[in-house]
């Protein structure tokens, strides 16, 4: 449903910690990893739009079993009347491709993994763009995912169930609470009838801000 013809390599190289210009050998490997990744990936997404209600328990997604808890998401959705609940995945074949690459060569495994993360971000962007065409008169917030700020990762189960993500995308949750396939992202996008003020973004709400290696170097992960 969405076609992603190429990996954003600069992002991918960054994810794998390559902060210098890739040499010819690295570029050759990149060609191989990218080709295999793209042939394995089956980018998909699903979403659900629902009205929200701000309560003392959290932001209730009306008509669903999901309540978004924590101060950060409430602040993030301030001024919004409804939300888009989004889930994207590159599919289980990508996990296999990463394992296969790693079995052959550690560097190839690392690169395929980093490229897949970059591709997942690209999928999020593309899905968001496609979805927002259905809501031309509304103003969206940026994507906020469980695990950002104090929006608990433990919400993933309710989140996936609400979206029917298992049936629609084949996305499940492991016993340890991780999305499987691993290259899966869930996110909330607020929709407002009025233009929204620019909210805190990225590092300001990130739980890793104290230890982030990117911040230490004065750059950002995204």
């Amino acid at each position: 449903m969405i076609s992603l013809p190429a990996v954003d390599r600069s992002q991918g190289f960054r994810y794998m910690g390559l902060h210098s210009k890739p040499d010819a050998q690295m570029l050759r490997l990149a060609d191989i990893c990218e080709k295999r990744l793209l042939s394995a990936a089956l980018p998909r997404y699903t979403y659900q739009v629902c009205p929200i209600e701000f309560t003392t328990q959290g932001v209730v997604c009306t008509g669903t079993a999901l309540t978004l808890t924590g101060d950060d998401i409430a602040a993030h959705l301030h001024g919004c009347g409804r939300v888009i609940l989004l889930c994207v995945t590159l599919s289980a074949a990508v996990d296999t491709a990463i394992r296969a690459a790693a079995a052959q060569d550690v560097l190839a495994g690392m690169m395929t993994d980093a490229f897949a993360s970059a591709l997942t971000e690209q999928l999020c962007d593309a899905a968001e763009q496609e979805i927002l065409t259905h809501f031309p008169d509304e103003f969206p917030t940026w994507r906020f995912s469980p695990g950002y700020g104090d929006l608990p990762l433990a919400l993933q189960g309710d989140f996936l169930r609400t979206l029917g993500a298992e049936k629609r995308l084949g996305v499940t949750l492991s016993a340890g609470g991780l999305c499987i396939p691993t290259k899966t992202v869930t996110a909330v996008i607020g929709l407002s009838g009025m233009p929204l003020p620019k909210g805190k973004k990225g590092c300001a709400v990130c739980r890793l801000q104290a230890t982030c290696p990117y911040r230490a170097k004065g750059v950002h992960c995204k």
């Binding site: 050998q25 079993a65 084949g170």
Partner: protein, 782 residues
Amino acid sequence: MNPLMDRQFLVLDGGMGTMLQAKGLQLGGVPELWNLERPAEIIEIHRAYVQAGADVVYTNTFGCNRLKMARTGHSVEQLIGAAVRNARSSGAPFVALDIGPIGQMLEPTGTLSFDEAYDIFREQIEAGNDADLIVFETMSDLLEVRAGVLAAKDFGGGKPIFVTMSFEENGRTFTGCSVSSMALTLEGLGVDAIGVNCSLGPEELVPIVEELCRWTTLPVIVKPNAGLPDPVTNSYHFTPEKFGSCMRTFAEMGAVIFGGCCGTTPAHIRAVRDMLRTQTRTERHPVIPAAVCSANQTVIIDQPRIIGERINPTGKKRFKQALIEHDIDYILGQAIQQIEAGADILDVNVGLPDIDETEMMVSAVRAIQSITDTPLQLDTTDARALEAGLRIYNGKPIVNSVNGEEESMQKVLPLVKKYGAAVVGLTLDKNGIPKTAEGRFAIAERILQRALSLGIRREDVFIDCLTLTASAEQAGVMETLKAVSRVKNELGLRTVLGVSNISFGLPSRELVTRNFLTMALYAGLDLPIINPNTESMTAAVRTYKLLANIDKNAVDFIAHYGAEVTPAPAKPTASGMTLGAAISAGLKSEAAALTKSMLNEIEPMVIVNEHLIPALDAAGAEFEKGKIFLPQLISAASAAQGAFEEIKTFLSEHSTESVNRGTIVLATVKGDIHDIGKNIVKILLENYGYQVIDLGKDVPYEDVVTATERYHAPLVGLSALMTTTLPSMEGTIRLLRERCPWCQTVVGGAVLTPDYAEKIGADYYAKDAKETVDIAKRVFQN
């Protein structure tokens, strides 16, 4: 015959979840709770379907397993018991126990074990004992289906078993399972009907059902959604009339069991029932070819297919060493190399007197299937190892082998039947290998008859007429080929031969083997078991396919040999490059080649200590200074690994000595499935000569302790990427402290900090792989 299977057509019910949502079930709510809390409404839905003409209603138990129901406070037994009673109350002619996916993915992509999946299904099946049949629906993972079907066979009291999987428009499930793989595997396992449900509407399912009808002799089930969901509202729009008329297409194709999934209502089922009144059953007579498969890849044996023979310790010291050290990565390396060289199927033989073959067979099959779709041939004489391998194999494998001895047939063939495999029959018996083609043909016939009497398909019996060495039994060569030809033409069976044996004891072995291979192919050999890494062997098969007009227009041949000049493999040794330079430049094959030639003159440990390690130290120092980054460090490590592999091979062949500067247990902790970081640490440690016991990812506390005890490892490295799995790290360390007080721990991973490492009781925190090596040097004082 079960009265259920006796009907011309069988009509199933329609959607349950979407009907419940229409009655007020929240998105993300638990439909199964309604069995207890709102039974009248459940019965009303069932009854509406019965009144619309459904023969079978599915219990409202799609997600009713112990994992999904844990948060409801009710037991599976309670909920399923109520659900079956509700379905019965509707007056339905037949009640199906409905079982959907577990909701957690099985290993290797997920963390759920096959045995746990089997046990989850067992619990559901036992709780639904009062149903008339068992249905698995909306399945995506073939391995999970296999766990369910095996549990249903073992605990279902002989009830009919239906399986429907959900396919996407590309003809595959979410996990990549193909229609042919589903059909081959499930018909082999002996289910009663198979088909498709959910995910797509009737129109999109046409090509998928068409394909399925070609691949199975079983009754075919079609249970689609009411069209595709609206992208914005997620609702379904097919009217009952349109649904009914689309379903006629499937009846005409030969499907005989019909129902509806998401968005369908009693009106849709009534339309299907009405449609069937004017429809007669289309008889199908599909010819299913000889084929084997993994979940994602089917290999049809309609032309010569190469079985790679390299995963086998016979005569290979390095392989034996890998088995003893449980070095799965080495086996994976052998798998990948053969696939790249052209193997269509891989033989897996991991038998060695000193190891637990059953455990090793399971580990090897699981590991190989986690990285490749190439089907496998399980090669063992140990029935226990064979059954364990068959049980967890995802797809339809080949069993290698049975022979004409009564004992062998009694032991092996029932397993082949139970797990739906294909089997290699060796033409020998208690009197040995018959000298003549007639003798071998007679044994082949005997094996075939026994297999057929057990219900194994003729197409699933492959015969090996056995290659004898030309040097010892020159006259026997043509007898083998004669036997191949007769088995192929008179019995109509596929043939297998391990060809390498032909040249044993002769000079120019490759020349002899290659020519024999071509002769055997011409005599009717379908499955040559060869070393595909020997280019001339693979080339002989490709050339044969060209000449025999199998490779039409020489497409495959030209793809492999069409380049005008075949580039000669690089010979870096002449270029004057040093091993250190090759490592620092990340040139793996060059590093390996240089090491190989250095081993002619220099002691292996001298190469390690004076060349390999200094080169890595240099790369490590550059990394620490920020002159190079992690990828370049890994690149150097990867090249060093190429050199190291040469040293290991040399040592295993020339001495009992091995490189071991100390043993370190490594694991990604329980609940965490990210192992790239851990693998980077592993490769670096190995390069420095440490023996790494890699336990993989999502490792239970107990397994870390067991391995640490077994190897009396002085150092344990634990990795975690997620904040949610840090408690597992703490738990593992606590148990290690209790049971392995001698060992020290080093921890690392994206979310760890030195403070946190200290808080959870770790001895060391390593910020990266390089630092882990420094810590290991300190711990082992080397």
